[in-house]
């Protein structure tokens, strides 16, 4: 029993981090604020080449052969860097395609050749789409049911998005899915991955506030020496640590097929949501005026957390699922 990443896992984390820092700098991405496609095809292709989409796909299906645990570690970093892009839809779609035996489709997704938006059912055939720019597929997920939809010919009404790096639109989609599954492992995977992204957001904002507390001086001393800020940083660190560790535990539980897998996954999702919403909010406050500017990255985490809190289920859905899950 061990909750710390292995050497091999640390290496994966390190590679992901380096890549995100060099290719996905928020300063560069800021130029694409408000576009319907923020990750261009070259960049997306590069992620594919790095094997990020294939991380948890078995080798026999053309994947890297790791598990949900390594996918969660990837998502933690994606959250920590506030990295935009349809990572969740892509990776879930890869699993759906693999489950359905759609190896050609799977190959196209894993190679980055075809892109997958996320489609969240709003009402009947009406979907809320995110990251639809450049995508000709969409993953629709609702509880344990997941389907890959064809976006060809679908008219998408763009909406002003709270998060300028998460393109938002609505569409009515009536066509039959290209493939579909009804499998609780999909919703468990979605819960853990979204939790991991939120935990990463909570962790990064805790770190950002702490760094600011060390660097910024006021009244002749570092602001982090004042109890008000110091104590808030402590609370943020606790929230982040709780979210990160619980999410890792949940990922392990799902992979091990334990009876408490649903319980742990929903607990992680509930906890990480709260941690991310709280930490991102306090992070703006801790930075004072500068944290309220567009140029600073603090607001990116705020709006991303609001989005992810409502990705693949609302906070209330997950709280109810947690209360309903069996603890053992």
């Amino acid at each position: 029993m061990d909750l710390l990443p292995t050497e091999e896992q640390l290496e994966i984390i390190g590679t992901v981090k380096a890549q995100l820092e060099s290719d996905f700098s928020l300063n560069d991405l800021a130029e694409r604020d408000g576009r319907d496609q923020v990750i261009d095809d070259t960049l997306w292709q590069r992620c594919a080449e790095l094997g990020w989409f294939a991380l948890g796909i078995p080798e026999e299906d053309g994947g890297v052969g790791y598990s949900l645990v390594e996918e969660a570690l990837l998502f933690e970093e994606v959250g920590a860097h506030a990295t935009p892009g349809p990572f969740l839809a892509t990776i879930l779609a890869a699993h759906v395609a693999a489950d359905c035996g759609e190896s050609e489709l799977l190959g196209q997704i894993l190679s980055g050749e075809r892109r997958v938006a996320l489609a969240e059912p709003e009402d009947g055939n009406q979907y809320r789409l995110t990251d639809h720019g450049g995508a000709d597929l969409a993953l629709a997920i609702s509880g344990s049911r997941a389907a890959i939809l064809d976006l060809a010919g679908v008219e998408i009404t763009p909406e002003l998005s709270l998060d300028p790096l998460v393109p938002l639109g609505t569409a009515s989609i009536d066509s039959d899915p290209l493939c579909a599954v009804d499998d609780p492992s999909i919703s468990l995977r979605a819960s853990v991955l979204v939790a991991a992204e939120l935990a990463g957001i909570a962790r990064a904002t805790a770190e950002q506030s702490t760094e600011y507390g060390k660097d910024r001086e006021q009244f002749g001393r570092p602001v982090g020496s004042f109890q008000a800020l110091k104590h808030r940083c402590a609370d943020m660190a606790v929230r982040a640590d709780a979210a990160v560790n619980l999410t890792r535990l949940a990922a392990l539980s799902v992979v091990a097929g334990h009876d408490d897998a649903e319980f742990q996954s929903e607990a992680a999702r509930v906890l990480a949501t709260q941690a991310a919403l709280e930490n991102t909010t306090w992070n703006v406050q801790n930075h004072g005026g500068i944290g309220f500017t567009w140029e600073h990255t603090a607001h990116r985490y705020v709006t991303r957390a609001q989005f992810r809190a409502r990705t693949a289920g609302t906070p209330r859905d997950h709280r109810a699922a947690l209360l309903g899950a069996s603890a053992t």
């Binding site: 709003e122 809320r128 909406e159 002003l160 998005s161 709270l162 998060d163 938002l168 910024r216 006021q218 009244f219 004042f226 008000a228 800020l229 909010t281 703006v284 406050q285 004072g288 005026g289 500068i290 944290g291 309220f292 500017t293 567009w294 140029e295 600073h296 603090a298 607001h299 705020v302 709006t303 609001q306 989005f307 409502r310 609302t314 906070p315 209330r316 859905d317 109810a320």
Partner: protein, 394 residues
């Protein structure tokens, strides 16, 4: 203790209500630039012509010389009139609530005569040059330097969070005129013409997509010494006199508007479906609990304001208790918009403007400013703890 309005106050209320019904603009306020400035100044002129400018300013300076209660009544009637814009979100705010009051308290006769009428008549936009990037909450450690050269000050440095600097004519500017004195003792309060050579204004975009905030850069800007308000090097005290005014009545309008916001949010929660999809959102106990607390809290804010007015009426000057209202209001404002995010369902992900009917996400983003601007809540809590409660300084 009584809630009675005097006959005069009652008449004032009726008069305000009637006038507003007839004169309130129906068009929305343009969100930026020259059009916004023109709109704000035109409304100020309309107020002046109607006799509603400077309600609690002394009569000798063109005001009506009325009480704080009447000022509050005006704000309440304004909110009731269902205006298409908010009162304090105007480029006339600083002139009416900071610059003007400071001149009234500390300005020379010439300064008063030149500037006060223009503020009331909507002929000049003022902005505030207090904050600096290096100083932040430690306002008094400001570094923008002013050297006396003949009968002028030569100013070099930088200010930030200067709302409406890009459309302003004048600025209330704090500069360091004595670098050797203790930090509170070497500051002067001057009137700066925003069209002076050497001034550069750069807009700062905020997380709520508002661009009214600016940075202002000063490169050897020359300001006549006659523009110093109060004594040279006594600017900190001059600035504090404005701040205590600010804590008094300047934010009443915000409070009255916040009460209206809660009522709108309750209406919203009655109409919307709750997160479980089975009932109106207001029947969700978590939502109901927070809404009823919000309703109680905005009502308490009004009671605290009336108590503050009662106290000021007895003592003549606003006490430090105003900082409690400030602190309470800032966090309450945020709680209310954060609650809205839990009520509006998937709408929470769709961006709206900051201002307007039935919008929530823009104001939610904007609400982050309410515990930062004008002194963070950490600073506000220090002030309450030390100046109101008498707890020892650190």
């Amino acid at each position: 203790m009584n809630l009675d309005l005097t006959a005069e106050e009652q008449a004032f209320r009726d008069e305000a209500s009637t006038w507003l019904a007839e004169n309130l603009p129906t068009e929305e306020r343009p969100p930026e630039g020259a059009e916004m400035r023109a709109f704000d100044l035109a409304w100020q002129r309309t107020l002046f012509d109607g006799g509603w400018a400077g309600i609690n300013w002394p009569v000798e300076y063109g005001g009506r010389g009325l009480s704080d209660i009447q000022q509050m009544i005006w704000y309440e009637e304004f909110a009731k009139a269902d205006p298409p814009f908010t009162l304090n979100n105007s480029c006339t705010f600083v002139g009416n609530n900071h610059g003007g009051p400071t001149l009234i308290l500390k300005g020379s006769d010439e300064q008063k005569a030149e500037h006060l009428p223009k503020i009331l008549k909507g002929e000049a936009v003022w902005c505030q040059g207090f904050s600096e990037p290096g100083a932040g909450s430690d306002l008094a450690s400001l570094n923008t330097k002013a050297v006396v050269d003949g009968d002028e000050l030569v100013v070099t440095g930088q200010k930030t969070w200067t709302s409406y600097a890009h459309v302003a004519d004048l600025q209330e500017l704090l500069v360091r005129t004595d670098s050797d004195a203790p930090k509170h003792k070497g500051i002067s309060w001057v009137i700066c013409d925003m069209r002076s050579p050497g001034i550069e204004v750069r807009e700062i975009e905020t997380m709520s997509h508002v661009t009214d905030f600016c940075e202002v850069f000063y490169d050897e800007v020359r300001i006549p010494l006659t523009n110093v308000v109060g004594e040279i090097n006594d600017g900190w005290r001059v600035a504090m006199s404005t701040l205590s005014f600010e804590r008094g009545t300047a934010f009443m309008a915000d409070q009255v508007e916040l009460a209206a916001t809660v009522e709108r949010l309750i209406a919203e929660a009655r109409e919307r479906t709750s997160a479980d999809g089975r009932r109106p959102a207001i029947e969700d106990e978590d939502i109901a609990k927070r809404l009823s607390m919000a309703r109680a809290e905005v009502t308490a804010l009004r009671a605290m304001t009336i108590a503050g007015i009662s106290r000021t009426a007895r003592t003549g000057i606003p006490g430090p208790e105003g900082s409690m209202i400030r602190l309470f209001h800032g966090e309450l404002h945020q709680r209310i918009y954060r609650l809205a995010m839990d009520i509006v369902g998937a709408e929470a992900l769709r961006l709206t403007p900051v201002d307007g009917e039935g919008v929530w996400t823009g104001p939610y983003l904007q609400s982050f400013a309410y515990t930062i601007g004008g002194g963070t809540t950490d600073i506000q809590r220090n002030i309450v703890g030390e100046r109101v409660l008498g707890l020892p300084r650190q």
